[in-house]
Structure formats: C-alpha cells, structure tokens
C-alpha cells in the first residue's frame, strides 16, 4: 500500500506542470452553456423541468466528450514514459506492475471524478441561475454525476490497457473514437444501447425522471450488469497484458 501511495504521488508529480488540466473543465462548461440556453417545456413541475435541462447537459457532456476525455486522460498518463523511454527505468524500481497499473488507473479515475464534480456543481449553478422553484434535487444531481463517473471507469480500464500497448498518443485514441462515435445512433436503440459499454456514461447520466426514449431512462439495474461486466473484462485484460508485456 505504501509503495502504491508513493507511486501515486510520483505519477502526480510527473503531471504537475503539464497543461492538460485545461482540458478538464471544457466539457462541463460547454454543458453549462447548453443548460443555460435550453428550453424546458413550460408548465411542467420544476423537478421535471430541471430533469429536461439536465438531460440536455448530459447529452453534450456524456454522449461523446466524456468517453473521449477518458481516452485522452489514459494517453496523457502514459505519455511521459513512452516519450522518454521511461518504462524500463520505472519498472526497474522496486514496484510491481499491478501497483503501477493501479496508480495510473487511480490517476485517471481521480481526474474523471473532478470532471464529474465540476459537472454537478455547474448543473447546480444552472439550477439557481435559471431560478427553478423549489429545493435543489440533490438525489438527481448526485445520481447523474456519480453515475457518469462509475460508467466511464470500464472505458478508463480499456484505454489504459491500449495506451500502455501503443507508444503513440493518437493511436489508442483512434480505438476510443471508433467505438465512441457509434453512440450517436446506439443510444436511440433500446435493444443495443444497454449492452454497449461506450453508451453507458450517457445512459447513467440522463435523469430517470423524464420520459423514456430509446435506451434512455432505463432502470439503473439494467446498466449495472454491462458496466460491471465490461469493467471486469477490460481491467483483467489490461492488467494481464501489462503483466506479460515485453518492455
């Protein structure tokens, strides 16, 4: 545990001066703009109105940007070693490969959590700025932000594996984008959507209060299987690959 924490702080140091953090607020900010400009149906109860606004924000943020950002983060945490030939150096230290994998994974997960926290905060800000009546629907907001985080963790595991395998920055992202773009159609399908790992962040983030459409608004239980299943497969695959990889 101790060496894991040291690895984590070493990983943090490597990224300390990197400017990639400017990327993190981009998607939540764009989503906030959408939230401020969208037109919820008039006359509905405030909670439903806000659910519609939150859906619009989730669409922009989670249909493509959140899965793609997951891939970018995975490429970023591996870049330092790929660029400087650092793998040999790092792995000759007294650390195990699963520890290193876990440290890099934790770093991605932490950054994704920051993005989702910002999304939640901005969604709350949209609630107050637009002057919705009644109390802030905390349960809906938390479910949306945390759900998106959990649903993007399997993708982070896959992308970390692919980024470890390829030394190029863009090649792992190509895999990511090729699988993420079909979301545009797949989220409309109630048959395919629930089983497609890349669609889960959006499906998890759209509030369940509004009307159901396609694969949206399905009960959380039906998504859990896909998220958990893909998480196990992707994490095990990435870890097994990294364990046996010739550095």
């Amino acid at each position: 545990m101790r060496s894991f924490l040291r690895l984590l702080s070493a990983e943090r140091l490597k990224l300390a001066k990197s400017r990639f953090r400017w990327l993190l607020p981009a998607s939540p900010l764009l989503a906030a703009v959408v939230g401020l400009l969208s037109n919820p149906p008039a006359g509905a109860p405030p909670r439903v109105e806000f659910a519609v606004v939150l859906s619009g924000m989730s669409f922009l943020h989670a249909m493509l940007l959140l899965p793609i950002l997951t891939g970018i983060l995975a490429s970023v945490v591996c870049r330092y070693e790929h660029a400087g030939g650092g793998w040999k150096l790092l792995l000759s230290m007294p650390v195990t490969r699963p520890q290193l994998y876990a440290a890099k994974y934790a770093l991605i997960a932490l950054h994704l959590a920051a993005v989702q926290a910002l999304f939640g905060a901005l969604a709350a800000a949209v609630f107050y700025v637009r002057g919705f009546e009644g109390p802030l629907p905390w349960d809906m907001l938390l479910q949306s932000a945390a759900g998106g985080w959990i649903a993007s963790l399997p993708l982070a595991a896959l992308q970390l594996g692919v980024s470890l395998a390829w030394s190029s920055f863009a090649a792992p992202l190509a895999v990511n984008v090729v699988f993420t773009l079909p979301n545009i159609l797949i989220v409309n399908s109630a048959d395919v959507g629930p089983y497609y790992p890349w669609a889960q962040p959006l499906l998890a983030m759209v509030p369940r209060d509004g009307e159901t459409f396609g694969a949206l608004g399905l009960p959380l239980e039906s998504l859990t299987v896909t998220v958990l299943g893909s998480f196990i497969v992707f994490l095990a695959g990435g870890l097994l690959y990294f364990q046996r990889k010739d550095i």
Partner: protein, 237 residues
C-alpha cells in the same frame, strides 16, 4: 516532391493509418446497415417515396463528425511517425526543401482521407443496393455527401497538421480536434460563417453548401500557406 511523398507513403506502412482510413467509412456504413436492418419496415415506410434519399440523409448525419475526428487522428499519427523516432533533424537535413516535406505530409493526409471518402461513397451505394433499393442510385448526391464535408474540413486539416507537426506533445492538437468534431454535431445553431459549421453545412441542402465548401477550400489553403512559411523558418529541436 513526388519522392518525398513516396517515402512518406513507405513510412506509414504498418502504422495503422490505412486501417483508420478504412474504419471510418466502414463504421458509418455498418452502423446504418444495423440501423436499417433493425428498423427496416419502419424506415422503408418512413422514406417510402425516396428510399435512396432517406439512406443518404442518415449517412450524411454521421459524416461531418467522423471526417473531423479522422482529420484529427490522421494528422497526429502522420506527425507521430517523425516525433516517435526523433527523425526531424535527419529528415530536414536531406537535400529537399522544407516546404516539400510539409506539402508531402499534407498531401499524404489528403490521399488517406480521399480514399476514405471514396470508400464511403462506394459503401453507401453498396448498402442501398443490398437493402433492395434498386440499382438506380443517385450517384451525384452520394458523391456530394461523401466528399464535400471533407473539403469543408480542410481548414481543420491544415491547422491540426501544422500543430501536430510543430508541437511534440500531441495532447493539445488531438484534444482540440476531437472537441471540434463533437461540437460540429451541434453546429446547426451556429451562424453560417463559422468554420466549425461548415462540415455539417456541406452535407446539407445546397443553400449553405457553396459557402461551406468554397470557404473551406480557401481558408484551408490560407492556413496551409501560413503553416508552410512557419515550418520553413522555424528552428528544429
């Protein structure tokens, strides 16, 4: 120039670039095959009076974002061939003008993306025939939605290739390009003169098409020129 290009073509062998160029159109056609396959009765009823038009409309929906994502990834992957092997100094020490090096990389990406567009046109026609829409496909319309969004994306290709070639860290160009690709999906609300709206306009009705394609080619040429001048004068590390 020709020999620089042919050496560039050699360098991208087994780097997955051709695979990426094929996977874009393949993905679009496969998705629409799935879409029409699952909802065949509903969609053929919806587009009963113009089956081909319906298919083309559905294909065109996915083209702009795919083209922009492809432009981003291909320019970064092409630049990475040199970054990865630290071969800039060696390449630029050869007796070829730097502008030729720069132009060859641009031409290489145009070739890759052009092949991609041609495959999309072929795949669209093949999918329509396979779905039983008959052999009288509207060839001009298919070629338009396959190639024009790419022409409208030329400013992005020129800019992203320039950034990818000059900046070693690919995070910025790739992130900017992918962000632009995603935003282009929602670019319908933007005014027509914003370049980000052009790929979408170029796949749409003729009204905005001329501005999008003409502006795309002109602005693309301008950025390419500025990029080439900068590339010629800059210090190589």
């Amino acid at each position: 120039m020709g020999r620089v290009l042919s050496s560039d073509l050699l360098k991208i062998r087994r780097k997955g670039l051709w695979l990426l160029a094929v996977s874009g159109p393949f993905g679009i056609v496969a998705l629409q095959a799935l879409n029409f396959g699952i909802r065949y009765d509903y969609l053929t009823k919806k587009y009963a009076d113009d089956l081909w038009g319906g298919l083309i409309e559905n294909i065109a929906l996915l083209v702009p974002v795919t083209v922009l994502a492809g432009v981003t990834l291909i320019s970064s992957l092409i630049a990475n061939v040199e970054h990865q092997t630290n071969s800039w100094k060696q390449l630029l020490a050869l007796p070829v003008p730097r502008t030729a090096v720069f132009a060859a990389k641009f031409l290489l990406s145009v070739i890759l993306l052009g092949v991609s567009c041609a495959l999309l046109a072929w795949g669209t026609a093949a999918l329509g025939v396979a779905l039983g829409f008959g052999w009288d496909f509207p060839a001009v319309k298919i070629l338009k939605i396959s190639f024009l969004p790419f022409l409208a994306s030329l400013p992005f290709l020129a800019l992203l290739l320039w950034m990818s070639l000059t900046v070693r860290n690919q995070a910025a160009p790739v992130a900017i390009g992918l962000l632009a690709a995603v935003c282009s999906l929602f670019a319908g609300q933007l005014p027509e003169f914003v370049p980000l709206a052009w790929p979408l306009l170029a796949a749409g009705p003729p009204s905005g098409l001329r501005l999008a394609v003409g502006g795309g080619v002109l602005l693309g040429a301008l950025i390419l020129l500025v990029g080439a001048v900068h590339f010629e004068r800059r210090d190589v590390d």
